[in-house]
Symmetry: C2
DNA sequence: CGTCTTCTCAACCAAGTGGTTGACAACCGA
DNA sequence: TCGGTTGTCAACCACTTGGTTGAGAAGACG
């Protein structure tokens, strides 16, 4: 019942996927080279199944893809999805910075005016 | 190579906070202007308490801060935290792109060699 | 063929998340 | 001081999440 029906979009999945340190680490290592599930899981001291699940989350978010090589499933980083996040972040950061600039301008103007007029009207005593 | 336990750092909290569309929307609107809890919650058709919780999550992640104005608690965006994400993303994206460049080089070289030598060694027949 | 390797699927569990309602603190305004 | 506004805290609930174990599919290989 949300008035604004925002569906669970890819952006949510991407952020959610990267909210886990283990998955971030996996992504980091995939920037160096593709790797199998076993290789990726080796450092973490969790079951292979758990690693497989992590990779599935990354895959659902579009951050990685899996191919086939005999029994092996090499995992490959899909770096383009990073752009999705970058765009979102940059958009609102720019907007925020713009706002701060405006705020600074307003504050500067208020300062000017208070220096010029020096007088408030009625009740503004603490 | 981190065989060791990665603690739940701020980066995780930031990604996690932004994994929710409602919270992303709140952040987006805070780039326009500070707002009270009631104002922020108005569009969403959820209880005020739920909105308060969302804001707490954003606050724990360092994305917003709350001040006091009588009963009101104006929420303010702390845009610097965006840099944390941007840095992480850019770092690994750059690394990934670098890797793809190297991969291209390797593939080009393999292509050269196969054109020159034209021969694999033993068993590579399907 | 049988066996080992690599990985996924299914069922289960504890902890976390997002929502609810109810109580109430803090403050303004009459 | 009393009532209305604004927001938080606490308890509760359904659902998700990250982990587990067990079973087994799919290949390589002797």
């Amino acid at each position: 019942m949300s008035a604004v029906p925002v569906p669970d979009d890819q952006l949510s999945k991407v952020f959610s996927a990267l909210a886990d340190p283990t998955r971030r680490d996996i992504v980091a290592r995939l920037t160096v080279a593709d790797a199998t599930v076993g290789e990726l899981g080796a450092p973490y001291d969790v079951s292979l199944q758990a690693v497989s699940k992590h990779i599935k989350v990354l895959e659902d978010a579009g951050l990685v893809s899996r191919s086939k090589d005999a029994q092996r499933r090499p995992v490959h980083l899909e770096a383009e999805v990073f752009d999705l996040m970058t765009k979102w972040i940059e958009r609102y950061r720019r907007q925020a910075e713009e706002r701060y600039r405006r705020l600074d301008a307003v504050l500067a103007q208020m300062d000017d005016e208070s220096a010029a007029k020096q007088r408030g009207s009625a009740s503004d005593r603490p």
